[in-house]
Amino acid sequence: MNVVTRGVKNAIRSPLKSGAIVLMFAISIALILSMLVARGSVLAKIDQVKSTAGTSITIRPAGVMGTQGGGDPLTTDQIASITKTANVSSITSSLTDQLGTTDTNLTSSLELGLFGARQERFSNPGSESTGTSSASGASETARPAPTPRISITGTTDANSVATTGGILPITSGTLIDGKSTSNVALVGATLATKNNLSVGSTFTAYGQTVTVTGIYKTDNTFQDSGVIMPLASLQTLTDQAGAVSSVSATVNSADNVATTVAALKTTLGDKADITSEAEKAATSVESLQGIASLTLAGVIAAAAAGALIILLSMILVVRERRREIGVIKAIGGSNGKVIGQFIVEGLTITVIGAIIGLGLGILVSGPMTTSLVSNSQTSTTATSQTQRGSNRPGGLSGGFGGGFANAQSQLNTNLTQVTASLTPQVFFAAVGITLLIALLGSAIPAWLTARIRPAEVLRTE
């Protein structure tokens, strides 16, 4: 029997009371661990989102969005100045156009619908109200029924068109070389089916024959109804040498995005609309940062609660055992031995509580993190959509709106993939906080024992 064994024995002296203290403490430890895990996961995801989304800048001619709006495309000189801008490591250029019935022998795979009919009213005034062909007049009967136009994108990197922001999924054939000048194209799966196209087939566009080298399928109705060609080829076919309707510039570091955007705005002036994904990413991770702050507050609150539980419990224990402490001192027990005994007692309760709490924490941290991030993601998406003021149903995108919408989609995908991860660092942080709590919670009551004078206790005899 020594200080340690006496301390341990005292810790389980009253099983019911000790059990209640251990349980309360375990819950606070479980909360600490869960909050640390959630915070770790959220911070990691914030870093990931920032690092992946924060280096891309989208430059469009002022007033142009996909095939909509109005203005002049970007020129070769402007593209060159973008390329030469400091910190810009690479660029992807694209030009978007629409193929009408007079431009191609392809039939659009999209239905006109009410939306399409409304867009057609400018070129086919007679069909404005119905959206279908009318048999009321001879001149209108002669006009072909309006059909949606087919989007065609010329790009230096076909993968940049992928809606997911990753690799363009090719179901047959091969990817086109963005630098090629040949009349080759990738055709969306839906459009290919509609026109019985396969790899090696040809179709006409702008009076030229174009060969299909691959079929892609993105599961995006609008994109799968489009055509992708090398940029130079489309520029030639559309007689727009050097014209570009969208540039996605990659900056060498997320830290340089803001300065690069500023430099580009200076260079291009009011000729271009410049947006960086970093701005959107910041908006996207706002709620995650809120959760990170919340979890930090949770860690502090749970740690304080844990420390308070141990502290108050041990203070009660000391008060309860004043006489016993007095007796120990009277028969020769030193302050050191009494303090040691109470610290061991506090540590024993803490360690048992911590083991149970860490086990509980491991069990609940996953679902808790998922729940926190899932709730946050719902609100993030809702907020994001409200801010944009648009929610595009399938097939209604304003052309291949550059890589920007794709990147946004990628951001959202990333955000929902936050999973609870219990790293050794997080685990040891929890253990460290627990030990700190134990020391704080035990040391103060132990110090109180040192102040107990045996004579005061014995005087109550």
Binding site: M1, K9, E324, V327, A330, I331, N335, E461
Partner: protein, 223 residues
């Protein structure tokens, strides 16, 4: 030898200063069995606490075997208590979650007794005060008052102290058991030449000791 010279003790209370002991002078020779009697509140327990270095006098000195104990540091007073003094209390004051053996071993630990021989020594002491083997392994709550006081005496004797200070050792016991406990202390005094100072209000017990000091309102009136 224990010498008390001009010891006074004053307490501060919400009602003002209370002088518990007034200019106490007494001497107890080695191996003597003395008693201190007095009414409740006369200062008996306060005097015993000062003699046992549990408290310090406001004025005066206590010299035990050439050491002025009231001048010792806190740590040295603890060592003094562990090695020189054995306490026996009216309420026994055994540690409730320790067995009789463990209670005695606790005092042995504080006295610096080697861990390997504590169990044997504790068992021997408990046997000598009349506790059987199975009783030695019981916790205090499963022992009678007399048995608990025997454990308390065994604990007091653990480190072969020069002085045993007993505060109403028979106060909670029936007269027959009280007599046995007193006889036990008396035998110890004779067989081991241990100096025993007993605080009591039992005049019969006091009458059997070598000398009796009477305290009235903090002053010794008879020796």
């Amino acid at each position: 030898m224990l010498t008390v010279e001009n010891v006074s003790k004053t307490f501060s209370t919400p009602g003002g200063q209370v002088q518990a002991l007034k200019d106490i002078n007494l001497t107890v020779k080695t191996g003597e069995f003395v008693s201190i009697i007095g009414k409740s509140g006369s200062g008996k327990s306060t005097l015993l606490a000062i003699l046992g270095a549990l408290d310090t006098p406001s004025t005066g000195s206590i010299v035990v075997d050439d050491t002025q104990i009231n001048k010792l540091s806190g740590g040295n007073q603890t060592t003094y208590r562990a090695n020189k003094i054995g306490f026996v209390f009216q309420q026994y004051n055994l540690i409730p979650n320790l067995t009789a053996l463990e209670n005695v071993m606790l005092a042995l630990e504080f006295g610096g007794y080697p861990a390997s021989s504590r169990l044997d020594r504790a068992s021997q002491l408990l046997t000598s005060v009349g506790l059987e083997d199975d009783q030695q392994r019981r916790r205090p709550t499963r022992l009678s008052g007399g048995q608990q006081q025997r454990v308390s005496i065994a604990r007091a004797l653990a480190n072969q102290p020069a002085y045993i200070l007993a505060d109403e050792p028979t106060g909670n016991l029936d007269s027959a058991t009280g007599k046995k406990i007193f006889d036990l202390l008396h035998d110890l005094s004779r067989s081991q030449k241990t100096t025993i100072i007993v605080v009591t209000h039992d005049l019969e017990i006091a009458g059997k000791t070598d000398r009796t000091f009477t305290l009235v309102d903090g002053k010794i009136t008879t020796k």
